[in-house]
């Protein structure tokens, strides 16, 4: 008899994130993360009930990745479906796996996110995301779109390039504690400022890298979590908004709806926080793993996620609140500024958040972390958000 059930993360696996993993094919890369997750959860392939997998098709040039990758994903003789929503793919896959279990249809579902960016021309592939008639001919890949957002933010708030550069410094410094991360360094703001401009005001150092990597996360029903050696990281709630279809849409809408910064993120946040009972993000969350595709996002998104008032991003970050040791460390793993295997990236945020509330995050552990926020970003300014916690949530569905 099926019924809606609470869901916890009970196993996590990830590959080392590198710019190029020539030693393995995409299928073998997936398999590495899957075997790691199974080992972490103490189970065998046969114990998996279903699989959800995601990546961005044109980055590897494979059609029907779900059927192609069964040797690596463990899907032989099992139910599998593919989910893909661009940059949000990893978090979409996490939410997808969550719903597989929450529905009562499956007890143990493996979410897999992966990308082998080294195998393609990233910008060439990303440009095909945009409408062939209206956006593609003039658009210049992901960076230009983010530059528009950054320019607007700087004009409205007086935030500076140096304010943004600190985000890159912070996250890559955090990554020094994460042996799996791609870019790990103790840089200074001046170092970021000295890197070449890609699309003003965004410089090379402000951007996330291109990475090869895979991540696998095992979700289990509340009836099954006790089978596993690790305490579950309970999913308290999930929400998403994928509002737009054309790149100029968000800017027009800001005027219409009274100038909100990032409508998708704010609306997803409003729904999620209401469901989970968050009224003061900075106080209530112990840690946040946020998908920041570029440095300015680390200022702007804090506002849209309710960590501070509008325009307060730079002050919050400069206060040290988001550093390790601060009130709510952001991206102890190094985040996306450090590693960006796109299909894996959003899922890694969930994996890292899970490790935090399970007290299994090693050198990157935030002491006593009990409630974590994980986000995904992508597409046309879309936002996916999840809350994970040490305590079992009151409500059956979040």
């Amino acid at each position: 008899m099926m019924a809606a059930t609470r869901v916890g993360v009970v196993g996590v696996g990830m590959t080392v994130q590198r710019s190029t993993r020539r030693d393995v094919t995409g299928i073998e890369l997936i398999n590495e993360a899957v075997r790691a997750a199974l080992a972490d959860a103490g189970i065998k392939r046969k114990d998996i009930d279903a699989i959800v997998i995601g990546n961005m098709d044109h980055f590897e040039g494979i059609n029907y990745v779900d059927t192609w990758s069964v040797d690596g994903s463990g899907a032989l003789g099992k139910p599998i479906m593919k989910m893909t929503t661009g940059g949000t793919t990893g978090s979409t896959v996490a939410m997808g796996a969550y719903y597989h279990v929450a529905s009562g249809m499956f007890d143990r579902v493996l979410a897999i996110g992966w990308e082998k960016n080294s195998e393609s021309d990233t910008t060439g592939a990303i440009i095909t995301a945009f409408d062939p008639f209206w956006d593609r001919p003039t658009f210049a890949g992901a960076v230009a779109g983010l530059a528009l957002e950054a320019t607007l933010y700087m004009n409205e708030t007086g935030a500076t390039e140096e304010d943004a550069a600190y985000i890159a410094v912070r996250d890559r410094r955090h990554a020094l504690n994460n042996p799996y991360a791609h870019l790990r360094m103790d840089a200074k703001v001046e170092d970021i400022m000295a890197t070449p401009y890609l699309s003003w005001p965004i410089k090379l150092g402000d951007m996330c890298p291109r990475t090869d990597g895979a991540c696998a996360v095992l979700f289990a029903s509340e009836g099954a979590v006790d089978e596993f050696p690790n305490p579950p990281a309970w999913v308290h709630g999930v929400a998403d908004r994928h509002l737009w279809a054309y790149t100029s849409d968000p800017y027009v809408n800001q005027k219409v709806v009274g100038g909100t910064w990032f409508p998708a993120m704010e609306r997803a946040t409003a729904e999620l926080y209401e469901k989970v009972g968050i009224t003061d993000a900075l106080k209530q969350f112990d840690v946040a793993e946020l998908y920041l595709p570029y440095s300015f996002a680390g200022l702007r998104y804090m506002e849209s996620l309710g960590f501070c008032e509008r325009g307060g991003g730079p002050a919050l970050v400069h206060s040290g609140a988001t550093d390790m040791g601060g009130e709510c460390p952001v991206n102890p793993s190094g985040g996306v500024m450090s590693s960006n295997a796109i299909g894996a990236t959003g899922l890694l945020r969930v994996a890292e958040a899970a490790l935090q509330v399970q007290s299994r995050a090693g050198d990157r552990q935030v002491p006593g972390a009990a409630l974590a926020l994980a986000t995904g970003f992508g597409g046309c300014y879309w936002s996916d958000e999840l809350v994970l916690g040490k305590e079992k949530p009151d409500k059956v569905r979040g």
Partner: protein
């Protein structure tokens, strides 16, 4: 009443997605392809638990996930598991002129079959269970196309 859609000739934009790729064969694939290139020899890998010899070789067994560390030399002849004769093909895709064939071929020594091209056969001259042999390309680069195609073994009924 006239509608602005009446008599419209819809504009259609021609486009092509050109994204270059460089797919890594990985360590296992590289060893396999180098063997084709340098030695004209097919290799499989063996799962110690399932006792399956995989050809195309796998690094880990898809079923039990054990490492398939043992490399097995396979014959260049095998059995045709199934086949088709292609009569119409897209010019951009087919490496051979029509009619040509595809087959799933189980090489001697392998448990699994694999996909490749078939050529040098008479009309109606292919059958499931037939013996076929590999014909290697003169110029080999470390690719599955180092095998030009398979053909029926002559003199074998």
């Amino acid at each position: 009443m006239e509608d602005w859609r009446d008599g419209q000739e819809i504009l259609v934009m021609d486009g092509r997605i050109k994204v270059p790729y460089n797919w890594s064969a990985g360590e296992t694939g590289t060893r396999y392809l180098e063997s084709l290139r340098d030695d004209k020899r097919f290799l499989g890998t063996r799962c110690p638990t399932c006792e399956i010899v995989y050809h195309i070789p796998r690094m880990h067994c898809p079923d039990c996930f054990e490492e398939c560390a043992e490399w097995v030399e396979l014959g260049s002849e095998g059995t045709l598991v199934t086949y088709t004769v292609v009569r119409k093909a897209h010019p951009q895709l087919s490496p051979l002129e029509t009619p040509f064939g595809y087959g799933v071929i189980k090489l001697d020594g392998a448990t699994t079959g694999f996909l490749h091209l078939l050529s040098e056969f008479d009309d109606g001259g292919l059958a499931s269970g037939a013996r076929v042999e590999a014909v290697f390309a003169e110029e080999r680069t470390g690719s599955i196309m180092d095998v030009a195609y398979f053909r029926p073994v002559k003199g074998v009924v």
